[in-house]
Symmetry: C2
Subunit: 430 residues, 2 copies
């Protein structure tokens, strides 16, 4: 354990996620998890496990067609562990067992949720568990009203529970079979709105949910919550209008896709039939993603806000403020670096897969890569037929997308900032 | 003239470019510029003029097939004005006429070339004119050796002169006819290398050329020149390897495309036949573009360097240095803002044109838009058949690409930085 003691929190969390993914892959690979006669290659078991733990929902093989109730339960647990985060689950188990949470564990939670201090971390983990349980119970009840019409009670309950967990954790998985996702329910208003509600709250992040519950007054919220709520609302509206403009779908469908693309990844219409413009709009939404400390991925709404706000401030020659607060330069700098890393990752992936899979159009490949990076799970339908190397690239991308490219990029830091200084010299830009 | 006196240099330069483009469009629209029987719509005259003044080289109609010697001469002059910059040409004319260059004009040159001070601006403009004349003369002589084998002497001289001006100004225009560009000469080593030489020197920027001529020792160069030369060499090598990897072309062809994509826009193979991976690699090269204060476009090599270097410095937790000099935060900040603005422009354009032109694949449209933004001029061949609105979007994009999105974005600034201050509050990123 001496090795672990020396480890930075970032590295510890990374290894934790990897371990859960590999364990999940092994269990899903065993015949005990699979339907009779189902043939599951190891790469597809690994793909499924990664997709579940990274709450993505890209599927190389249909869940219900290949995995039995045991396998589906394992999958549900992997999604829940992935959604809460390996760390929170670990700390949660310690709390439930009535043991004391060590200093080391507190640091891990602090790192996992990008917290500034370690004040009240145990309380935080507890409230995360309560909030999750609360939303998932409501979601299960509402979904059950829909599914109980089409399935026998016990099966409907299972489907409802799985769906509710999948939706709140923004995972996009379904156990309805036949790679159809929620297409059979595209006009069911109750299921659409329940799913959207779970997705939106799951994607706000726990701090924002907590502030909404406790303060109830927008003006009293922290800058973080104000930005998250404003951006979420703006993106939902713009996304809905855009999808309605480019695709021949209902307003309900447009709203659903606008919600789902920002990392849930459920679909109520076949994405493979969408226009290039619609696919591109979804790519942008997927890339932006949900909000920090949530179950969602992407560069995050706050990062996108920082990019836009700082650009406007340069264009208008005004200070970079938001809701009458100045945003620190440090934060804006990090936002740009994070976005640049993400773009580079998406570009390199798309380039390599374009070479490996010349049979697909570029936008199909770009869509798949951004979906993996944003841990979204939408697909034009190319996932099952990808080559092994392409699947490995997608697995790698989901993993980086879930942990954040900045976490991965800074994982190798051993030394503190060097103190060698150089004189400053400018270069001409643009 | 009172209106002009109040104008910021950025706005003055913008209006200067616009005026030249409109004048050019009108002249090219007149029958006097056109071959007998050629039918040129006004949108195509405007497109051609914009493409020439913005040294892009995208063509909606073939130059030699539609414009006569007079029209081609006008086009050559538009390219030369666009390449030197409206300001330098104006100041150059003043100098040639033996008049004194006013303070106002000096400020314009300072702004046009992103200079820090106004020291020696007249000397600068003079040396720019000399350098241009020098390279274009050498280029004409070397091209003449090639073209004189296929054309009668006078016509060969005209073609050589036009080609040399087009290449040094990174404009990508040809007057060989039939929309073939340089494809007939794909294996002519002398013409390939002459063209690449003109493109590379034209794309380095005048300061770097001046430093190479005067100092001759890399170690003594300014940080700016070191970065430009290193990035140019690195991008040429990486680009050549990438094109050889993805396309079935010769090494000469791969080197030519690697050179040409970073804003010249000549082609020796039909780009429409390239693979998705090859097109995407070209898109990245086109987006990065040439170096500042040169005839090239794109976000510029120095900007790209700042993005990479600052990202590496965050990932390794080290100071952001280059060649033992610290890079100012201000510069890195500007680099990110400029890149973000460029990405937003490319995305919005691609989205709108995807809606307007559903018959083309997404990568064809993205390629066209980035080619316009980087003032490159390569195309998969869709330019002539674009709708009028799409052509207007491309015209608009070439214009912004030539002047720089930051110049355009800051053109509306009237007031100095406001002094209202707010307290600082952080948000969580990524
Ligand atoms: K998802
Ligand atoms: K060009």
């Amino acid at each position: 354990m001496a090795v672990f003691k020396k480890m930075s929190p970032g590295r510890f969390i990374t290894i934790g996620f990897m371990t859960v993914i590999l364990l999940g892959a092994l269990i899903l690979y065993l015949p005990i998890s699979q339907n009779e006669g189902a043939e599951v290659a190891f790469i597809d078991a690994l793909f499924t496990s990664t997709s579940a733990v990274c709450v993505t929902g890209l599927i190389a093989i249909d869940t219900a067609d290949h995995f039995n109730v045991f396998g589906q339960t394992v999958l549900g647990m992997l999604i829940q562990i992935g959604g809460l985060g390996v760390t929170s689950v670990g700390v949660g188990i310690i709390i439930l067992a009535g043991k004391k949470v060590s200093f080391k564990d507190r640091i891990l939670v602090k790192e996992a949720y990008n917290l500034d201090s370690m004040k009240g971390i145990v309380k935080l983990v507890k409230s995360i568990l309560y909030v999750t349980l609360f939303f998932e119970t409501i979601g299960t009840i509402l979904s059950f009203i829909v599914f109980s019409k089409d399935y026998p009670p016990l099966k409907a309950l299972g489907i409802s529970l799985f769906h509710s967990v999948a939706a709140f954790n923004n995972s996009g998985f379904d156990i309805l079979g036949g790679l159809r996702n929620l297409i059979p329910y595209q006009n069911n208003v109750l299921l659409n709105l329940t799913t959207c509600g779970l997705i939106i709250f799951g994607g706000l992040g726990f701090f924002v949910i907590k502030e909404i519950i406790h303060k109830r007054n927008f003006k009293k919220f922290t800058l973080h919550s104000k930005v998250v709520i404003t951006m979420t609302a703006a993106l939902l509206i713009i996304g809905t209008l855009t999808m309605k403009l480019t695709e021949d779908i209902t307003w309900l469908g447009a709203f659903f896709f606008s919600t789902s693309a920002r990392t849930a990844g459920f679909s109520t219409y076949p994405v493979g039939d969408f226009t290039n413009a619609g696919l591109f709009a979804l790519i942008i939404l997927m890339f932006i993603g949900a909000s920090p400390a949530s179950t969602g991925g992407g560069i995050k709404t706050t990062t996108f806000f920082a990019l836009i706000r700082s650009t406007i401030s340069v264009a208008t020659n005004k200070h970079c403020t938001a809701f009458k607060r100045k945003m620190p330069n440090e934060i804006i700098y990090r936002a740009f670096i994070l976005t640049f890393l993400s773009v580079v990752l998406v570009c390199i992936d798309s380039f390599i897969i374009s070479i490996l899979e010349p049979q697909y159009t570029f936008i199909q490949i770009l869509f798949e890569v951004v979906s993996a990076f944003g841990t979204v799970g939408l697909s034009t339908g190319i996932t099952p037929d990808l080559s092994v190397i392409s699947k490995l690239i997608i697995i790698f991308t989901m993993f980086i997308g879930r942990l954040g490219p900045l976490t991965i990029a800074t994982i190798w830091i051993f030394k503190p900032l060097s103190s060698v200084t150089y004189s400053e010299e400018s270069i001409t830009i643009g």
